[in-house]
């Protein structure tokens, strides 16, 4: 693993997120920027199996984006990985674009399930992990979620089942950036003690610095085979990471930079 190279690519992904959002004029900034290091590690750190020229390759690991509003970082990462040309990023949210406002299965290569309404992807991921086990397949299921998303009751229904079924081929990743649309997660609807709650649902929990690319790669490489249980990786992140005026501010959850802010953001990310 070339850590400097990964950091460089994470930077490029962040710049592309800012450019995409600036051009489209709508979308989510905070979460996508905050989780860019994770997405870089996942797709570019050599830890999962996929083929950009054969996106439906049967033995690929399944990456489920349960939190569909992270679309900008997912798209920017898939382009960086080579699934489609970078220029296509500038069509985000435009009529006829494969880059829909929220990810759509069948529209863009690399998207496993359509998502947007929160909490749905984790159930699909559990179902996929069950199917893989039934057919004795080796591929893993990685489900990416937001922390505000944990408010949805369906999520806990899915966790109960994942724990019961001991789905060791399932890895759930929660972006713990502590913001959601209406404010800080601990004010809107407190999640803490989150680790204890997840453990109580018979899940293995790992907390990790969501901006330490090499640590994330190391953890992903260890796989979700830590135990017989499904694993939840809690990524401690700063929303808006890399753009100082966005960092840690919930107002940037679903807001995009204007022309001046875009200039500032890109300058900061080019340093």
């Amino acid at each position: 693993m070339d850590e400097a190279n990964l950091r460089e690519r994470a930077k490029r992904i962040r710049k592309n997120i800012v450019r995409m959002l600036s051009i489209s004029g709508s979308g989510h900034s905070g979460g996508p920027l905050g989780s860019a290091d994770f997405w870089t590690a996942l797709y570019l750190g050599g830890v999962i199996n996929y083929r950009v020229n054969e996106p439906d390759w049967e033995n690929r690991d399944r990456v489920i984006v349960s939190a569909g509003h992270y679309a900008p970082v997912v798209y920017a990462t898939l382009a960086e990985a080579g699934f489609f040309p970078e220029e296509e990023l500038w069509t985000l949210r435009r009529l006829g674009s494969r880059l829909q406002g929220h990810p759509v299965k069948g529209s863009l290569p690399g998207i496993e399930t359509s998502s947007g309404p929160l909490g749905q992807g984790v159930s699909v991921a559990v179902g996929m992990a069950l199917a893989a086990r039934l057919d004795k397949k080796k591929w893993r299921v990685i489900c990416f979620m937001g922390d505000g998303e944990q408010n949805e009751g369906q999520v806990w229904e899915a966790y109960m089942l994942a724990g019961k079924e001991k789905l060791s081929n399932l890895l759930v990743v929660i972006d713990r950036n502590e913001i959601q649309v209406d404010g800080d997660t601990e004010e809107v609807l407190p999640l803490e003690p989150l680790v204890a709650k997840l453990q109580a649902f018979n899940l293995e929990v790992v907390e990790i610095d969501g901006h330490n690319v090499s640590k994330i790669v190391e953890e992903l490489r260890r796989g979700s085979y830590r135990s017989e249980k499904p694993t939840v990786m809690i990524l401690k992140t700063v929303p808006g990471k890399g753009v100082s005026f966005m960092e840690g501010k919930f107002v940037w959850h679903g807001k995009v930079p204007d022309a001046e802010e875009t200039k500032l953001a890109l300058a900061e990310l080019s340093k």
Binding site: T113, P117, G119, V124, G127, A129, E157, L161
Partner: protein, 324 residues
């Protein structure tokens, strides 16, 4: 006259009763023996949705998710996106009732090959009362793109429908009755998704019925045969609607009555109204639940009260004919 090529039981004294859910459970096991991709995802209603035999025979293909219908439908989408053919089974009031968003996005928007079974449809659920009587399930499923909506007429048709659902690639919702209802179709009766069938030919009034109401419609048609010549059409596929068969019948009789164990808002009656208004405006009367909830009672009492037994259908036929 009953149509010969439908191979129906035409001597009503010989009609036996069986529940659609039993027909479904039987068809499911038969098909699962032939097709190893068939799975079941169940939300704590194994016995009453009749998937118990499947669960015993195909333990590894049976997923029990507990009382969690939203998760059930999402979990079913996972294997469907991995080449499996999962049946997600519950009561209609819970699924699609409670799991509609999951049905919309995880299943229909993904065009995932999930088969949704909603048992205990209609007021004949009886004593459990309004909360458990699915009377809006057709309305909320019919509006979803990519989704086929089925309401078989009897247990044998429900059994056959399982095979057709499996052959069909894409999401399907099928509603089923709980109670034992008359079985008029036979092993030889054809069944095809998307086809309505003229079961009894007539020239005066068309009765378009779905589910257990088709048998009631046949009984009503026989009762009034000396005065009014009623055509009975089994509309087992509510979406996509078989336009040709319905338009042909409506253009022959010029008078249409729809009968369903569902709200007249949004169900079969609405679907037929949409079709006829656009293509062939004729007089239409919709029988069903008229924007009210059901209640507790025996199924016979409830069918009588809401005018959905053959007696109620006869009254509607006579009145409609008189006032045309």
């Amino acid at each position: 006259m009953m149509k010969k090529e439908m191979y129906l039981v035409d001597d009503f004294e010989l009609i036996e009763k069986e529940s659609m859910r039993d027909g479904f459970g039987q068809g499911l096991v038969e098909m699962a023996r032939r097709n190893s991709q068939v799975m079941v995802v169940c939300a704590d209603l194994k016995e009453s949705t009749r998937v118990e035999r499947f669960a015993e025979e195909f333990e590894e293909r049976f997923i029990e998710v507990g009382v969690a219908e939203q998760n059930m439908v999402g979990v079913a989408a996972g294997p469907a996106l991995s080449g499996k053919i999962p049946f997600a089974v519950s009561y209609g009031v819970f699924s699609p009732g409670r799991s509609w968003d999951q049905l919309r996005v995880s299943v229909c928007y993904n065009n995932a090959n999930v088969k949704i079974i909603g048992s205990h449809a209609g007021i004949t659920v009886g004593e459990d009362g309004a909360t458990h009587q699915a009377l809006e399930d057709v309305a909320i499923s019919r509006v979803l793109p990519n989704l086929v909506v089925l309401a078989p007429a009897d247990a044998e048709e429900a059994r056959k429908a399982v095979g057709e659902m499996i052959s069909y690639q894409g999401p399907v919702y099928m509603r089923l009755n709980r109670n034992r209802t008359g079985v008029v179709t036979t092993k030889l009766t054809p069944f095809e998704i998307g086809k309505a069938q003229v079961w009894r030919e007539g020239n005066d009034i068309s009765l378009f019925a779905s589910g257990a109401m088709v048998v009631e419609a046949l009984k009503a048609a026989r009762e009034v045969a000396s005065e009014i010549d009623v055509e009975v059409v089994n509309v087992a596929t509510i979406k996509p609607l078989d336009k040709d068969t319905l338009i042909n019948s409506a253009s022959k009789t010029g008078l249409v009555i729809t009968v369903e164990e569902h709200q007249i808002i949004g169900g079969l009656g609405s679907a037929v109204a949409e079709l006829l208004t656009e293509e062939l405006p004729v007089k239409l009367k919709r029988l069903g639940m008229k924007d009210v909830f059901g209640e507790s009672g025996s199924s016979d009492e409830l069918l009588y009260k809401y005018g959905l037994n053959y007696g109620g259908i006869i009254l509607a036929i006579k009145e409609f004919k008189k006032n045309k």
